[in-house]
């Protein structure tokens, strides 16, 4: 099944790389958002299966906050991709029914495996 994906990442090069990998795995990237506001805007325009969520976003905003709004308003869950997945961050993400965690720097194979697990869990 081809899933529809939102990428929430403030570093455009990494977002672009993620987008290449998601599409290479046969899924569709509908938007790239840099902060919670852009993520919500994208969610209002597209029907999303899930989001790839960075934890630290543009202008000091939080990916956990973006994930919470996506989850509460639209029921969209996230795979978290961050250079700092400490236990506190994981615990907060778990409350939003996290679909998975991938540490940075990520191995593309691990990212794709996490996406495939998420697609099955949806």
């Amino acid at each position: 099944m081809a899933a529809t994906v939102l990428i929430v990442e403030d570093q455009m090069l990494i977002a672009w790389h993620l987008s290449d990998l998601v599409e290479g795995a046969g899924h569709r990237v509908l938007a790239i958002a840099r902060d919670p506001a852009e993520a919500m805007e994208a969610a209002s325009r597209h029907r999303l299966d899930f989001a790839l969520m960075d934890i630290r976003l543009h202008g000091g905003t939080s990916g956990l906050e973006a994930a919470r709004m996506l989850f509460e308003c639209w029921g969209v869950r996230s795979i978290y991709i961050s250079a700092n997945l400490d236990p506190a961050t994981r615990a907060q993400a778990e409350q939003l029914q996290a679909l998975g965690f991938v540490g940075k720097p990520f191995l593309p194979a691990e990212l794709i495996a996490a996406i495939e697990r998420a697609v099955k869990a949806l």
Binding site: Q11, L13, I14, W16, H17, D20, R56, A83, N84, L85, D86, G103, K104, P105, F106, L107, P108, A109, E110, I112, A113
Partner: protein, 348 residues
């Protein structure tokens, strides 16, 4: 001296005794809060966080020693200084017990006002320098976390940049060169994702590290696992010092990359095995083998830069390289001494 008067919690069920102590402390310029029981004292200590608590040893609900023990055991109040006081001339063993329970000092009454004031000031001074140290340590930890975050993020940017560039080449040779470069950088970068969340950041657990890298090599090669190529990974439970871990990973990277490209058995999928096991006393042996060799030729032999890299990395490991050819199998092994890693433990 700080501007605001420092607060001392004075715990004593005997009103006259409590009053006398409070009076001395007031005169010395301290702010004093009072408690008559151990329970009350614990509650106030938790809420108001006074830097110093003076506790009479005999309280109605629990002993002063027990109050002290609970204060020191509770993370919220553990840094509170405790001065244990006794109105009676108690046995030495009780004074020892008090200090063992975590009391920072002990006074026997009757006590001279000057002595009570001087001991209180000494304990408050100690509390201030301990707090300053704790703050500075917390700042350092935050800074370290921030630096780690940036290192990992920068490595991610390097990998993303290389991948974006690599996808845009059409010529197979250029593409392959880029894929190799990315794979080598990935092996080095991937260790950082596994280091800092671990209890021991100076060593790396080899099993998850190598398993992840091998899965990525199969993906990047475009071969589907179980169909064209089957990878068998057997890594004994071991942690290696980071620099050895990276060297081993880079050797695995060269050999597996090469085997995925060249191993073409007469029938069935290519079977590539990666083993990292203890070997003899104090040695470790890495073996990468494939079923691609024929008696006449070893098509999966590594050539060029790969060979040089393996030789240099083996030297860095103080190890030796060996090659076995038997029954259609081509195996390269690197044997090196297992250096007992310098373990790192949090200093608290």
């Amino acid at each position: 001296m700080p501007d605001a008067p420092e607060t001392i919690l004075n715990v004593n069920d005997n009103e006259a005794g409590r009053y006398a102590t409070t009076r001395i402390l007031h005169r010395a310029g301290f702010k004093v809060i009072e408690a008559g029981t151990g329970g009350e004292a614990l509650q106030i200590a938790r809420e108001d966080l006074p830097p110093l608590v003076i506790i009479d040893i005999g309280l109605p609900d629990m002993s002063g020693i027990e109050v002290c023990r609970r204060l020191k055991a509770d993370p919220v109040t553990a840094s509170t200084m405790v001065l244990q006081m006794s109105a009676t001339n108690i046995a030495v063993i009780d004074r020892v017990n008090s200090l063992s329970a975590g009391a920072d000092s002990f006074l026997v009454e009757p006590v001279e006002p000057e002595e009570l004031e001087a001991v209180s000031r000494a304990l408050l001074r100690l509390h201030r320098s301990e707090s300053a140290l704790r703050r500075s340590l917390a700042e350092r930890e935050l800074l370290l976390k921030e630096v780690n975050h940036r290192v990992k993020n920068s490595l991610q940017l390097v990998l993303s940049m290389l991948s974006l560039q690599g996808h845009r080449f059409k010529e197979p040779e250029t593409r392959e060169l880029f894929t190799k470069a990315i794979s080598r950088v990935t092996a080095i970068a991937a260790i950082h994702e596994r280091l800092y969340q671990d209890a021991d950041p100076l060593t790396v657990e080899m099993h998850t590290y190598l398993t992840g890298l091998c899965a990525e090599l199969v993906r990047a090669s475009g071969m589907e696992e179980n169909a064209q190529a089957s990878l068998q990974i057997e890594v004994e439970e071991m942690r290696l010092p980071t620099e050895h871990g990276v060297a081993v990973a880079l050797v695995v990277n060269e050999l597996v990359m090469n085997a995925l490209k060249h191993a073409q058995p007469a029938s069935g999928p290519a079977i590539i095995s990666v083993r990292l096991m203890r070997h003899g006393t104090g040695q470790v042996r890495l073996t990468v083998a494939d079923n691609g060799a024929t008696p006449e030729q070893s098509s999966s032999e590594v050539t060029g830069l790969g060979t040089q890299l393996i030789r240099m990395l083996a030297r860095q490991l103080n190890g030796t390289v060996g090659i076995d050819r038997a029954d259609g199998t081509y195996a390269v092994h690197v044997t090196f001494p297992l250096q007992s890693p310098v373990s790192w433990r949090p200093p608290y």
